[in-house]
Structure formats: C-alpha cells, structure tokens
Amino acid sequence: MMLGKTAGGLFWMFRYLERAENTARLLEAGWRIALTRSSNSESEWKSIVTTAGMNIGFEAKHDTYNAANVINYLLRDKENPSSVMETLNQARANARLVRTALSSEVWEATNECWMAIKDELARPVSERNLHDVLAAIRYRTSVVRGALHGTMLRNDIFSFSQLGTFIERADNTARILDVKYYVLLPSAAYVGSNVDNAQWEVILRSVSAELSFRWLHGGTVSPMMIADFLILDRRMPRSLAFCYQEIDECLKQLQEEYGTRQPCRDKADAICARMRGHSIEGIFQEGLHEFLGEFIKSTTGLASAIEENFRYYG
C-alpha cells in the first residue's frame, strides 16, 4: 500500500534529480563548444540557454549572454526555478516528503548530494572551477541512482521513481532535439559547414552520447543518423525509444502489482506503438519538428494521466 502523495513525491524527486543532471550536461556541452571555437561565443551561450528553455527568464535579468551570466543563471540563480540548485532543493524537499519510502542509502545519498552541491554553489562559479562543479553534480546524482538500483525493492516505490526519471529524460531529449531540429534537416546538412558539425556535437554531447555514437557509427555522421540514434535506438539510454521502453516496463509492473490496468497504460502503449511504426526516414518525411512537438505533448499528457490514475493529489 502506498499513499498517492508518496507516489507523487517519488515521481517528482526523480524528475528533479534527472533535470539537475541534464542541465549540468547541457552546460558542459555548451561550455566545451564555447572553449573550442573562437568565433562568437555569445551565440553559443544563447543557444545553450534556449535549449534549456530558460531564455525568457534569462533575458529578463541579463543583457548579454556571456559565460559568467549563463553559468550562474543555469547553476545557482535563486530566481531561476530550473537552476540546478533550485531543482536539487525541490528534489530534496520531495525526498524528505517520501522519506519513509526510501532506503536509508537513497535518502543519505540524496541528502549528501544536496549538501555537497549547495556547498559548491554557495559562491559564484567561474570558468576556472566550472569543470569541478559539473563533475560534482554528475557524480552526486549518480550516487543517488546507484543507491536506488542497489538497495531498493523492485515494487511500486521503484516504479514511480523510474517513471519520474524516464518521463523527465524523454522530455529532455525531445526538447534538445526540437530546439536543434533545424540543424538536422537535410537542407541545412547540405551546407556541411563547421557550424553545423559543431551543432551536432552539442546535441550528442548534451546527452553524453558523443563517444558511443562514434563507437556505433565509426566516422560517419549524418543528421539522420543522429536523429535515429536519439529517437529510435533502444541501445542508447537517453533515446526516446529507450525511455519509453522503461516507462512501459514500470507501468506493466504497476499493473501486475495492483491487479488493475490504468488508462495511462493505454496512452503509453499508443506512444510506443507510434515509435515502433516509424522509421527515421518516415519521421523526417512527416516533419521532425511536428513529430517532436507531438511527442512532447503526448508525454506531458501521459504524465498527467499517471498523476491522476495513481491519485498523487486527489
């Protein structure tokens, strides 16, 4: 038996942890591009903030996109509800709320993650220590995930935690692709300039998949291959197909544990079926932007169906 509130708390705790990690990843990718490319780093920084979906808030506060402004806005700005620090505050508040559902190792890892990052982000972050800070965020969130996988029963508690992780991750990957979709379009690819290669690199790096992509595809890089990798390749742990495979598994577990099939499972099935029925060529023909827009919308719809079916709030 689990309280609806607890299910909601677990779901959001892991959504927020995933979000903090994704923001750090994205920042790392952008920073690297800004470092390795001499021209116009301002547009690089702007592209990062836009990809993170934080451009409106950022522009309300800052006039220029430079390293210091972007780094601090994404990592530690109290007025930015999606900054890593604010996101981790939310993750921990949810962890406290559901503490009775967590193993002591998961709770302690979460609490230590929060304490360590809070300490790192207590002062403005400069480019000098950015690497260490980002490494700490990745490391600390990994410890939480490790504790979750190593110490928790595979029951509904685990399912709701995983649902939060993969809903957030699917949404995140889709949004990165959607903001950058134009660089993947055939017309843009024909240009073949360095600019576009760098943009692809950001896409792959922001989901930490640059090397694995190269391993799988050797030296060949085409926009369609990148899109295929991030949308349909089930071997890639941040691809949309992978996320939905996990989501489907969680909902199946919940159905078995509770003995009831909930409407949200139908929604998830429909999304999975759509992805199985598509090849990457088909998606490009239909329109990548349209496909991603539809995907983001149906993922949001699925999240609210889960919330409703399992009575998070009422």
Binding site: M2, L3, G4, E108, N111, Y258, T260
Partner: protein, 492 residues
Amino acid sequence: MRQVACGATVGWKTGGMTHAATFFDEMLSGAEGARDPYKVYYDWFENEDLKRLRRKSVDAETFFRKIGITFNVYGQEEADERLIPFDIVPRIIAAREWAKLERGIEQRVRAINAFLYDIYHGQEILRAGRIPRTLISGNEAFCPEMIGVNPPGGVYTHICGVDLVRTGEDDFYVLEDNVRTPSGVSYMLENRETMLQMFPELFTQLKVRPVSSYPQTLRRSLSASAPGSSPNAAPVIAVLTPGIHNSAYFEHAFLADQMGAELVESHDLQIVDGRVAMRTTQGYQTIDVLYRRVDDDYLDPLTFNPDSLLGVPGIMDVYRAGNITIANAPGTGIADDKALYSYLPDIIEFYTGEQAILKNVPTWRCSEPDALSYVLSNLKDLVVKEVHGSGGYGMLVGPAASKKEIAAFEAKLRAKPANYIAQPTLSLSTVPILSKSGLAPRHVDLRPFVLVSPNKVEITPGGLTRVALKKGSLVVNSSQGGGTKDTWVLGD
C-alpha cells in the same frame, strides 16, 4: 591525570550577579571522584586521548547531518534546518535510581489518565472540591467536545514525555508531564545508535539497557488501543504530521518509518463510510489508529478551528462513534496546564490513594493574589512560565534575566496574572560535557518516554537527556541552544 574542571561547588556568573551555588554533579563528587554508576566510564575516559574524543564529536555531527536529524527553528528563516548539538559524554543512571523513577512515572501517568477520564465524565474530583472548578471551566485547554466520549481502550495519553530534573542524590522533581505531543524520542534512538557506533568498547564493559525496541513497542501499544470495530485484519496505523516545514518533521518521518506506518498529512485523509481513510495509489484505505503530531486545533476544522485549512473535517464525529483511535486523545492538554500541574500531588492521591512518589516543583499560581504579590517582589529569583507554554518560549528565568527583561515581563504578568505560574530556580544537577579543555559541568534534565496501552504502562529505560551547553545556563530547550546526550540506564 588530566585536570578536570568539575567539582561539587561551581561558581557561576549571570547578568552581572555572582552566585556561589552548590550543584549536584552526577558524575563527580568532590571528595570521592567518580560516583558509582560512572566509575567504569570515568576510568575509560581518563585513558582516552582528548584529541581522539574531539574527533569523535566532529564525526558525530557529520553523521547527524548526513542522516538529516535536523529541526527547524521557528522565526529563523536562514537557519531553516539546524542540528541539535550532541555531546558524546553519556549520562548514566544506576539501576536502583531508575527503578524508583519508573515507579513514580507509572503512578503519575495512571493518575493523569484517571483524571482525564473523570474530568470528561463525572467530574468527581471537582465535586469533592479537590481542585477549583474555575481551573477547568475557564481553561482553554479543556475540550468540551470530549465530554462523555470514551476513547477506544480507555487510554487518553498513549505517549507521554515526562520531564524530570534532579537536584541531589535522591531528589528528583517532575517539571512537566507533556501529555499532548511530546517530541524528542528520535534523538533518544539516534543518540544511542551513534554511541554504539563510536564507542562499542564501552557497551561491552557496561550493561546498558537497550532502547531500540521503542518503535516496535509503540506500534504494539498503539495497536492494543485500536477500536474493536475495525474492518481491517490487523490495525492500520498512520502518523499525522503538519508537513515538512514542521520543526519535528524528521521525527515524524523517522517514527513512521521505524514502525512501518504511513506518514500522512491532513490532505491525504478523508472520511469514507464513517471511517477515517487515507488516499493511496489504489483508492482509500481505512485507518484504525492515528498517531497525530498536530495540535487539537488542527485536528478537525468542523469542531475546533473553522479557519484552519489543516485537519480532517468530520474526524471528531468518527472519533465519538468509536471508529478511530486518536493518540493522544483530544483534550489531554488540560493535564499539561501549568496551573493544574500544581495540583498533581492531590490528583495522584485522589485517584490512587497513594502519596506521589515523585516530587512536584513548588509552584505559585499567579491567579491567586497572595502568590502574585510574592512573585512580583521576587522576580529576580524565580522562573515564571505561561500556563499553556512549552518549548522554553515566553518564560522568564529571573536569575539570568537583565533588569530590563524583568521589567518587561512584570508588565505582562500584571496584565494577565492567571496566565502565569512561578517556580523557584532549582539547582539543577550537572553532568559533564566534553569541552575544549576537557570535562566541564553543564545543567541537564531528563525526558523519559512512556507508552500507555489499555493494559500496561511501558517506560523505555533512559530517555532524552537535554543539556544546557552554555556555561551556567539553566535552559535546556533545543530551541534555546540546548543539546542532547545519550542516557544510559544500567542493568542490575
């Protein structure tokens, strides 16, 4: 031998006055060195390296932070979550000392439950003229909704935390009974865990009575008070918390976790088919026992506080119908009233026919004109408390207060005398803490935790020792800079 800044006579300075007072130190007696219960510990301590011990203190703090034993201080936004400082020197109580405390506490708690039943039923004690009617009828802690209600199993105070202080070898006083929602038991349990981890060698040398079964005993004790009419195969227990911003949230989560009970907030609860139920991922589940850590006012907006957004509308109707156990029962606060406290010896005698085993602190009721004039002319020597206060808020410690503070308090006292009681400043016993220069005496109190079920009273050996960390201070409350110690009751 290391120099120990500890002895029977301690001079202390407060507020510009010098008191040469004699305090009873529980570890060391001036002439004979360590007292009996502490002999083994003291020998061990003397052979320890002070640096190693200080490192252990730091380890303990890291450990507490990591597991998140923090409390929130009201009115301090920045210091949202604070640690209660932990001192690594244990407070040790001999078996025979504990045996007497146990008898005294049980007697007291039984009398309080009999009193609560009486006051909400026949009111024999008022008719017998043993306590004044005005003390009950005019008291905001009296709960008219409880008149004629029979709590399941007949228990009112399922959990009590009786505050004791000591002034001499055999002189223990009860300071407060805490029969509403006493807190601190999680510290008792975590302090012991920490000491076991840090100093296992001491536990092999001394027979320290364990405390770790408290959560299971609590579960059993609450289950035994469950309503007989339950549709559930085994009683379902939930802990009701005001939420994560409450100062004792850690403890609420901890106890729920340790008992294997759900931790709920009022918005998780609803009345379904005449019973209290919690919203789960699979629908509503009936609850039999609600261990509530919220005040009466936040229990039922329909009954107690129509403005409250907290609470479970209609829960009092379910309670009156005998379909849920609320622990502690609503309306027990009347027994926590500090004016009523002064009648406790009479109350014990009235219901048990025995003399009180544990002493009460002499108390002046400021509602009485003679007492008030005495209190007003002796403020600098007295401790004055609000009758409904707790947590060390709204009180005056005369000897430690400045002239200005005394004058300000005097005005409040004159404006509403019935709101206050006064007590002499007790020479609280000391137990050494580990200070920079070694052992240093600090004042302590003790809160043993008492569980009451329909057929028995169980007291966990020990309890929470709170210690005033500031030299000379008599205020041990965590909200006022107090710390805690592990409390060891020795086996026979």
